[in-house]
Symmetry: C2
């Protein structure tokens, strides 16, 4: 019986992977990966079969139950099985369903945390999410409800937190802005929309909560996070991060 | 004029550093680091002067204003200046004060995000913080107020979020538990206290919100995070992560 590693691939740029994740990928026999994982990150798993199972892979999503089953099956045939997820596996990644399936099948697993999109975005914006004197809490939230989930408590969590980072809000900008303003969040709350954080093709758009629909129309189709709260007033539009051309060279050099 | 890198050292284990952070440390001329950064992480900055400025270094903390000034001064004398912070620099790290000082002095800076303690802890607990159907939001919060900060809104943010991770709550367990129960959080809310996440000497204690004072008494003096919410019901007490003995060997191998 093999072991399954649920590994965070980080926010996008291949050099924002952890050393531990890189080392496990090098040992991997088989990798099941989200569609948005960088090709250079996948290249680290030189001797592994690589199977895209993310929602953006191909024309339709791979059903979660099918992914769970494939992980269990793979652990019966391989020593090192990697489930590579964008960002951190324990934030909005449906990891629990995979963990539950592995535990039910008696398969050993380990989670390798990663850098999540929220702090990758704040790094690019040059701001702290918890600026002293302004913010003692930050909520990470998605307005997307799963089947059977309580309908509309997401806005409450944003209102109660000094800073909020909204994941998976693409296509919902109008509804997010309207719902938050209706709930009492000031229209002029500083806001940033960061698309494809840490990727070459990233885009940073600054404005206020009322501007969100317009900003979303100016953004592309990459994954986005929306950050809002007083701390965003200090956000810088020019991304500061340096992109890396050749991850293999960097690894050799290290 | 040099450049200042505000770098996340990750939650503790040296192999949970990002590749980018490792590469910048190797190029560093001078490193100002928090006290809790792992010695093996500091060893990566082979040719740099290393200066501990964290609150746990020595017998008293280095004043923030003094750290700001040293960063600005260092950028005038060195090409690559690193401010190495535990976890992620934009979460509870007072980065904004340093950024503001650097911007005021016209010094170029870049933030390198890191893995934060919350997701390092959830990885060790083997749970998702946002289990589908249970949690659409997670708040990261500290009950410690800065001077002049509004007194007691932290509990509200916890009550409004499905999952909460409390940072820097050490020594405040009794007050945290009492305040949350008083505010209406159920006593039997599942809870985990993780001390020194990802370090060798880590400790994982499971219970409920009502048990927090007792769990805190059983914990040691390492840095802790407290996680609470329905998702913690699935937490596993046995940490799964593998510790790395020799980070240099791992880097050579990569």
């Amino acid at each position: 019986m093999g072991k399954v590693y649920l590994v965070g691939a980080g926010p996008g740029a291949p050099d924002l992977l952890t050393l531990r994740a890189a080392e496990i990928l090098k040992r991997a026999d088989i990798v099941f990966h989200d569609a948005l994982v960088h090709p250079q990150t996948l290249d680290l798993a030189a001797r592994a079969d690589k199977i895209a199972v993310g929602k953006r892979s191909g024309s339709h999503s791979t059903a979660q139950k099918f992914i769970n089953k494939r992980l269990v099956d793979a652990a019966r045939d391989h020593r090192v099985v990697v489930r590579l997820k964008g960002g951190d596996p324990t934030l909005f990644g449906r990891a629990q369903e995979e963990i539950d399936a592995l535990r039910a099948a008696g398969i050993d697993f380990e989670i390798v945390p990663g850098v999540t999109a929220a702090t990758a975005a704040s790094a690019e914006l040059g701001v702290s999410l918890t600026r002293r004197g302004f913010a003692r809490h930050v909520v990470f939230v998605t307005p997307r409800a799963a089947k059977g989930e309580p309908e509309n408590d997401w806005a409450t969590s944003v209102l109660a937190a000094d800073t909020a980072v909204i994941y998976m809000g693409a296509g919902l900008a109008d509804a997010i802005s309207a719902e938050l303003i209706r709930s009492g969040k000031p229209k002029d709350t500083p806001l940033a929309l960061v698309e494809s954080a840490t990727f070459f093709e990233r885009r940073v758009l600054l404005g206020t909560l009322a501007d969100l629909p317009e900003l979303a129309r100016r953004a592309g189709s990459g994954p986005t996070v929306v950050l809002l709260g007083a701390v965003l007033k200090a956000a810088i539009a020019k991304p500061a991060a340096v992109a890396v051309e050749d991850i293999e060279a960097l690894l050799r050099q290290a």
